[in-house]
Structure formats: structure tokens, C-alpha cells
Symmetry: C2
Subunit: 231 residues, 2 copies
DNA sequence: AACTATATCTCGTTT
DNA sequence: AAACGAGGTATAGTT
């Protein structure tokens, strides 16, 4: 990877046409030929970029451009899609290059899936006498995380989240509305279970008669004794 | 902005938990405190990141970590959302810093809007005797780019794109279906107009009885004599 | 500020 | 390969 601080202007032509006026920026040229142009703020999205596959070539500086102060023109193109990025360099302010090699990649912990799994095993956390009906209980609008029956045999739909926010409450509300139309299941109550429940989400949930259950992931993992399952 | 090539491992905890094992990467620290961790390939999206607002602090290296070869720990946190990125530095391979200042920002050329405008003026490109009904003709599912009447007085809906791809044909199809339910308008035929029409899009359009019209932006701009409009 | 629609969306999974 | 849905979506426009 090569990173360059440079005074530059950038033109993109492809799915749209876009232009960056002359200013100092960071240009990142990756091993696969892809190029990212970043400013000193904003989000993780570059101002302008070209994704692989593409070819990086240093093209000729026209007399007219040279007169305007351009010292180099970098052309990054994808012949197939007809996308092209043209970077006019006025001045290089700093530059660095390093071989990084293939990255081992991001490992997502999948805490939500794991929480669901653990709660299915430790369903008594919901209340004594609770029995699991099934995980990923199917409905027409998608699966409910957990369906259980309480000690009185009443159905309870559980939505499991790592972080309990309003979206999750809305989701569970939609499930409950649908499930309660089914005479074989109704009445179905709801539990919103999460490691952390935001105050707004809690208020909304309780206002709708949905119980909130804060889960202690660490404790649940501790209880989930691997040896118990193996032997 | 500070850019650092370093051997590092990265932990993110927030809306999900994610981990990057030890490897050489590029770390970008922007003026607003946001941090991006990039590998040498892939898309413009960093492997892991923290968006502003957040605070960058160099935290203490625990004895245990130091023993494992960690020389620094960078903590990037957003107290409000409870998101945090922890970067363990094993070795710095290169580093550079530069003040870039505020970026003037990306200017999108708006070729599509301009094409629509030009075609509205040069509506005879569709066929002689064609008259403009209106631009941005309203429907319940959004405005149709151009509504015209052909020489026989029949309505024609025109979808204008810079690049004609399948999505655009689908969009026009939805408009046509809706418009043809209106007895005051029906029958409404369709024209898919673009600077470039992809083969798949052309096949789909023609299969649905939608005419394809390739626009020459340069020629249309040339015809759009500014002097004619000013004097 | 909240909500909506878009994106050069990206990215993964499934068909 | 194409279609579909989710995203730590981000971002711009509108109410």
C-alpha cells in the first residue's frame, strides 16, 4: 500500500460524474489497484474512490495542465464498467509505502446469536417453570427469536438483542400483533431481552406491556459449562 | 491527519463485537478524532473504524500485554453511544502527519438532471411532432422524468438516465403500469432514454415494449445554444 | 431534531 | 451469476 499526502483535484466519471476541486488530501493506493481519496474528517467513506478491479496508470501531463501547476496525472480505470478516476497532482506533501500482505480479516463475535442460544438453554432465566417451544419460531414476517411457554402454559415471544433499542421493540410489537391473531397461540405476551436496554426502548416496551429482561452475557457464558455439554 | 503503518490487533465493542487479529495494517487518525483501520485491499470500507464524535486516548499498557509484545494501546471511544475501539500496537512500521484543513467537498455534476432538462427542450429528438406535457410528471409512486405526447396525441412517459441499467427499466415499468390505470392518460407508452444503455437493460425494455433512446450529451449540449436562451 | 429516500452504497447469503 | 436482505450502514433532503 502506498499513501500520499498531496494537493490534488479529482474527477470521477462512471455511474455519476463528480469532481473534487484542488485541495490537500490523503490518497491511498492499495495493492489491488484500488484508490481512496480521503479528507481530514467526515466518515469512513472516502470523498472519491475506485474499487478493484481497476488499473492504475500515470498518464501524461498536458502542456495546458502543466501550466496550471499540475505535476502528475494518475488515471485509475475499470475498462469493463467504464468507470474512471483521474487525479491531478499539484504537489506531493508526503508519501509512504509498505507491503501489508493479506489480512486475516474481521471476526464478528456474533454475540446476539450466542445470547439467543444461551437463553434457549437457560430459559428458566425468564421465569421458573418456563419451557422452550422453539428457537427461530417462524411467522409470515420473519422468525421470532424464541417462543416459550410460561408456567401457566401461556405463549411468550422473546426478542433477543445485544443492545435493546427502539427498533427491537417495534419488531417484537409487529410479531406480537401477528401472533395474537392466531387463535391457537393467543394470548401471546412479549419479552424484550438484551444485554443493555436503552431507557427509551424500555419506556416504549413497558408502555406496550412488553416485559424487559436484562441479560448478563458473562454470567450466562459461565453457566453454559462446556464440560456439561460434552460429558 | 496522522497515518500509521503498524502491526496491530483491534477490538471493537458497540453495536456488535468484532476483533482483528494481529497483522500489519494502515491506521488513519483524522483531525476530528475518527479512526479508520485499513487493510491492503478490499473496498473503500475500513476493516474497523470509529466515527466522530469520539475521543482518542493512549491508554496504559498492562504488564500482561507488554509481555505479549504490545508497545502501545490506543483507545477510541464514544461515551454517548458506548462504542469503543481498542487498538493494540505491536510495532510501528511507518508514520506520517499532515494538516489538511477543511475540504471544499465533492461536486456532483448532475448530468442526469441536465440530460432531462435538455431533452425537455429538444423533445423532437423523441420523434417529430412530439410535444412536452411536463417535466417531473407526478404519480403516486414518484415523478416521471418527462411526460410527452407523440404526433398522434398519445401519451409517452420517458425515463432519463445517464446510464441505462435494469433498475431504470423496472422503474419505468412501474410508472407505466400505474399510468395506464388512469383512463384519462391510457394508453401510455414508454421510452427509456440514456447516454448509454446496457445490453441487458435494452433486452428487458424492448421485451416490455419500451423503446430505447440513446442520447448524445455532447451534441445536445451543443444544440442547447446558450445565446439562444439569453437573447 | 426527526423522518425519509438514496447510495459510485457494501457485504454476505441464498437460489 | 443473480437476487435478496442487512448494515456499527452513511448521507442528503424534507418536515
Amino acid at each position: 500500500m502506498r499513501v500520499v499526502f498531496a494537493e490534488c483535484s479529482v474527477d470521477y466519471s462512471g455511474r455519476l460524474d463528480a469532481y473534487l476541486p484542488r485541495a490537500p488530501r490523503l490518497i491511498m493506493i492499495k495493492a489491488d489497484g484500488s484508490v481512496l481519496v480521503h479528507s481530514d474528517g467526515g466518515s469512513y467513506k472516502p470523498l472519491n474512490w475506485m474499487s478493484a478491479p481497476c488499473t492504475f496508470t500515470e498518464s501524461e501531463v498536458l502542456a495546458e495542465e502543466a501550466e496550471a501547476g499540475v505535476t502528475a496525472v494518475w488515471l485509475v480505470a475499470n475498462a469493463k464498467t467504464n468507470d474512471a478516476l483521474s487525479i491531478k497532482i499539484y504537489e506531493i506533501l508526503g508519501e509512504m509505502e509498505q507491503q501489508l500482505g493479506q489480512d486475516p480479516g474481521l471476526i464478528k463475535d456474533g454475540v446476539e446469536a450466542h445470547l439467543q442460544e444461551l437463553l434457549a438453554e437457560q430459559v428458566d432465566l425468564v421465569g421458573s417453570g418456563t419451557r422452550l417451544v422453539r428457537r427461530e419460531f417462524p411467522t409470515a414476517i420473519g422468525p421470532v427469536d424464541l417462543m416459550v411457554k410460561d408456567e401457566d402454559g401461556q405463549h411468550v415471544a422473546i426478542e433477543v438483542k445485544r443492545r435493546g433499542e427502539i427498533d427491537g421493540v417495534e419488531q417484537l410489537t409487529r410479531y406480537l400483533e401477528l401472533l395474537n391473531r392466531d387463535p391457537l397461540l393467543a394470548p401471546v405476551s412479549g419479552i424484550f431481552a438484551a444485554q443493555e436496554i436503552k431507557p427509551q426502548a424500555r419506556v416504549l416496551a413497558e408502555d406496550r406491556g412488553i416485559r424487559c429482561l436484562v441479560l448478563d452475557y458473562g454470567a450466562m457464558k459461565g453457566t453454559d459449562n462446556v464440560e456439561d455439554r460434552l460429558f
